[in-house]
Symmetry: C2
Subunit: 242 residues, 2 copies
């Protein structure tokens, strides 16, 4: 959690105003690095559990803008299209104990947050973004923020593990658009690199030749010159998204 977040959080906890009560946004932010599909996790200070980056919605703020703000603060990324993937509105999705621990971790006294111990409804947004290691202010991501392999997640707070799963399912059904828009791979890239990315997201092997035809059929790839360097074998074409 960034300092800025702490600030907003404290302001919310103390003032109890300025935000829409009992409403939050949580973001499942995927990236791809070192052949792994990763999710951005945060560890609110003093709380021993990892969680999704989330935030509150200011009274004058669109709900989606609140999610975008969270994304910007944590990764410095702007103009990234966020997509709704679910609403988490079960009355008992947060236990009283977990909530209390959360507020205590913010350094609050019990009497300060007792009135806040109500159920929260959370709106879930996801995005697939470039791998970044800097927060909005240009500083490196703090210790309490990390990219974690989606296939080996630590225990997460509340129902955040469910959220990741639902977001992942949604990402998979919209993989073509998401990958093309994300500009995730350093261009130009080889077809093999693109295939590995797809296989990582879908978590299953794809057939090389069919994959190539399918990708070229989408009409979003431009073929460029050849690659000579690294390969110990035939030099593959390079591509980039239109």
């Amino acid at each position: 959690m960034t300092d800025q977040d702490q600030e907003r959080m404290r302001a919310y906890l103390r003032k109890g105003a300025g935000f829409v009560p009992q409403l939050s946004v949580d973001c499942v932010i995927f990236t791809y690095h070192e052949q792994q599909l990763k999710v951005l996790l945060v560890q609110p200070m003093g709380l021993g559990t990892w969680a999704l980056p989330g935030g509150f919605v200011a009274q004058q703020q669109d709900v989606e803008a609140a999610a975008a703000e969270t994304l910007r603060e944590r990764t410095g990324l702007r103009e990234v299209p966020l997509h709704l993937f679910g609403v988490f509105g079960k009355a008992d999705r947060q236990t009283q104990d977990a909530q209390r621990a959360f507020f205590l971790a913010q350094g609050m006294e019990a009497h300060e947050f007792e009135w806040l111990m109500k159920r929260y409804v959370s709106i879930g947004y996801y995005a697939l973004v470039q791998h970044v290691t800097e927060a909005a202010d240009g500083s490196p991501l703090a210790d309490e923020v990390m990219w974690q392999d989606v296939y080996s997640l630590p225990p997460l707070a509340f129902d955040h593990a469910d959220m990741v799963n639902q977001a992942l399912e949604t990402l998979r059904t919209h993989i073509d658009q998401q990958v093309a828009q994300s500009r995730l791979l350093p261009e130009p890239f080889t077809m093999n690199a693109l295939q590995t990315l797809y296989e990582t997201i879908l978590n299953r092997p794809l057939r090389r030749n069919n994959f190539q035809r399918r990708m070229l059929g989408l009409g979003t790839l431009e073929r460029m010159e050849k690659l000579f360097t690294g390969g110990a074998h035939k030099a593959p074409f390079l591509y980039r998204f239109l």
Copy 2:
């Protein structure tokens, strides 16, 4: 709006407690009657505008349960699967004027609801249900409740017209499951009746023979005996959903 609703509404307005503040659910409830795709609309007492049936979320209530409750009160239907189709969270989606008119229509005095004049975030659910003309208590649907042809809607409150459009898009993409689950047609029905239903929902003509093959290919239809009565021509098969 039913009496029961009025009651809940007043209680909310007066007590300002018991519900999650600034959060609502709105339901787009589709049915099919007289070869028209219809949407359930309500007209809050005294307000000159039609609106979607909506409600608030009690503190101990799941968000989806709040939507189901609305559906049950208005139509008496239970166990109907509701599906999320969107979140409407723009800060300015309700104008102050419209909100004021809404509260005034409830018979409230200005000083009673002034503190309530805040933005609302609404969770949108939709369902495709059998055509019913009775509310939960067995009484006929009141004057302030009507089924209206989706293709000729009156002006709706707030952003409810957008909601209907989004819900309709979602319904169309899941038409097979929705129609099969809805038990909308009186069984047994002819293939022609089913096709007309599809054409009404999709708002475009379908080819008779291809439609038949596609439907039978779904594996959810059971073919029965013949129909003799009405037809002035060849007697068609009858079907029902498995």
